[in-house]
Amino acid sequence: MDLIAARNLQALSLGFHIILVCFGVAFPVFVLIMEGLHLRTRDDLYRRIARRWAKAMAILFAVGVVSGTILSFELGILWPEFMRQYGDVFGFAFALEGTAFFVEAIFMAIYVLGWDRLSERTHFLSGLPIPIAGLFGSLFVISVNGWMNNPVGFDQVNGVVSNIRPLAVLFNDFFWHQFVHMILAAFMVAGFMTASVYAVAMLRGRRDRFARVAMIVPLTIAALVTPVQLVVGDWAARTVANEQPIKLAAIEGLGQTQSNAPWHLFGWYSDGEVQGGLAIPNMLSILAYHDPNAIVQGLDSVPDSDRPDKINVVRMAFQTMIIIGSGLALLSTVHLWVWWRRRRIISGKWFLMAVGAAGPASIVALESGWITTEVGRQPWIVYNYMRTSDAVTTATGIPVAWIVLGVVYLGLMFGVIWALRRLAHSPEEPPGGPTGSGDA
């Protein structure tokens, strides 16, 4: 049995796919905003940006379709007992997700190939279903992940599942905060990442209007979203404290149940407590219950076998997310403040460098947040119902698959970066009239 290899393989595939999901959900909105601005103002610049971005959107979508298909394979290949036992409990959500995905794929094709071939109005309208479908698609997937954290909507007696209530499954207690958290993260990642590309270009001396507009619009959207994300993060932390106290304990490395629980910045968890680091008194109690005196459940409240196996991974992932999130919030505030009060865009070297770093940093924060929730749920695949070790396949050879897929995904990542860079340096399509070459 290759539990670690199976977990790594799943983590690799999900970690890759989740980045593309962000672009699948948020990027079409950016493209449509640009096209909408063109239709309103007739300023050709917006059309040029929309067109350029639509090509990038198509590439990222095509790769996302692929990595999403792999995930549906892996659910069965790696976790057959999980699927056998609970496939019919949450499957309904995936059936709806498949529907949304279908709509997304259909209109993606129409929109991307329809430039200059459909009327302007029809073309714009054909793009609208894309982000809506993307939103619904991620809603249903998040719903299943929420259910794994908060399994409700079924009865289980002696290992037999009965009385499945699909709507209760769909709208479990973890669904709402996870969904909002993920969607905002998608806008942050796509926004900061896109802005970052143009910030770097401007640092290299490109100072045309195209680059400025293409940086400012996504940056502003991400900046508007980021402060909201802090509030949603707080909501998520409190729900986790109530429903998954052991995950919260792992986030801090809180060995013993206590009131006035502190939170450590940095440090290392070993022997039931955090060694070193900067302790902030009462912070964990405040984080979890908005009350410095609140009692927070520690890892010692459950047997060792029921605790996450990698406490320090959870701790570091959570802290990385918090630190980057705070940094992005600061950047957002500065940008929005200057724009609001002074009516101007900062274009200094330091600011551009910060924006350039914000893109990759937002991806790191995204992955960290996801690692926090997934590793923090261990040893359970379905919280308190099924252990990951009981769900895994009995087939051998999973480590081989993990290494091969690792190499393939590395190649794929380079391919995506190569293609996007090449796209950035390729000539723009002239307005009007289909061209002779194939479209991406």
Partner: protein
């Protein structure tokens, strides 16, 4: 009532698989013709037509696979877990094929004229063959009764690497090539590109005959390797599918020969669909012959009712969207122009 629901779920599963075999299969076939198009300006025209014909429906065609998987695990979780865990080797190889294919397809327009052109072209072609082949071996392995219920309970290799599995795998590859040739020929006719229509007519005839020959060769293999399936397919409920498939296949060849292209998309697709339905009828009531039946494997009725609800949403939302897409596609609204035709012999 519950029995009706289970049959409904099984019908959805077969429908998804059939649509994937036809639409996804044709996509894979496009890769075969792309790989074998050769070099020069004529090959460039051929490739351009292939991509113009398939591009708009490309992503949607592959969502049928996800549709099928989702219906499978929602309705028949135990069978899904058994198939996926036993068949992990061909599934993994197909997955690699899907990654290479999807990504090389996305990168190719940008790779044109760079060092990256050749690797993406080769990856695309090879993946277009290996993906349907390995998916086909899985179907062959299931139909041949090699997947027992349980966590990776079947033999990891012999469950699919057996005579029936390999024949179905080969069948999947040639069927896709055949469908792609038909669809592209019809598209060339619509666009009034005579040279390409003729070129794909030859391809359609050759691959059509090949499909027939492979189908005939499969029969003695099935008889020796999977006698239960053979009996059910040729002496039982599956026979109707086999007959319809051969009949439609013959009609399609005749239409292609006479260059009457208006109906060939439908008759060609019908021939492939008929054999898929025939296989399903032959297997019924078994999902995993002969150890797990549809009724025994089916999810509880609440789940199946939810699936009915999802199906209603699907019909209300996806079907009109698909119709819209296919109408745009079949009327050429999303097509791009081809490089100009040159006289034969003028190829560089």
């Amino acid at each position: 009532m519950y029995e009706v629901l289970t049959v409904f779920a099984a019908v959805l599963l077969v429908a998804g698989l059939t649509l994937y075999a036809v639409l996804g299969g044709a996509d894979f076939g496009t890769g075969v013709w792309d790989l074998t198009a050769g070099r020069g300006s004529r090959a460039a025209r051929t490739r351009s037509l292939l991509h113009s014909s398939m591009g708009p429906v490309w992503e949607a065609n592959h969502v049928w696979l996800i549709f099928t998987l989702v219906v499978f695990w929602t309705s028949f979780p135990e069978a899904f877990a058994s198939v996926m865990s036993t068949m992990y080797i061909p599934l993994f190889l197909a997955a690699i094929g899907i990654i290479l294919r999807g990504s090389s397809y996305a990168f190719r327009p940008l790779a044109r004229g760079t060092w990256f052109e050749w690797p993406t072209a080769v990856a695309f072609g090879i993946a277009s063959i290996m993906t349907p082949f390995f998916l086909g071996t899985i179907i062959g392995g299931i139909a041949g009764g090699h997947v027992p219920p349980g966590n990776a309970a079947g033999n990891a290799v012999s469950a699919w690497w057996n005579a029936t599995g390999v024949m179905v795998g080969v069948m999947a590859v040639v069927t896709g090539a055949y469908l792609a040739a038909i669809f592209t020929m019809a598209d060339a006719e619509r666009r009034n590109e005579r040279d390409l229509r003729n070129a794909f007519r030859i391809r359609a005839l050759v691959s059509g005959v090949l499909v027939g020959l492979v189908a005939i060769a499969t029969l003695p293999v099935l008889r020796a390797d999977a006698p239960w399936l053979f009996d059910r397919l040729l002496k039982g409920p599956g026979l109707i599918g086999v007959i319809v498939s051969f009949a439609l296949g013959g009609v399609t060849l005749w239409l292609i020969w006479g260059m009457r292209t208006s109906l060939i998309r439908w008759t060609g697709a019908g021939a492939v669909a008929a054999i898929a339905v025939g296989w399903a009828l032959a297997q019924y009531p078994y999902l995993l012959p002969t150890s797990l039946s549809v009724q025994d494997a089916a999810a509880p009725s609440a789940t199946l009712w939810a699936l009915v609800g999802a199906a209603v949403v699907f019909v209300a939302v996806v079907v009109p969207s698909l119709v819209f897409l296919f109408r745009l596609q079949l009327s050429g609204k999303l097509a791009h122009a081809l490089p100009p035709a040159e006289r034969d012999g003028a190829d560089v």
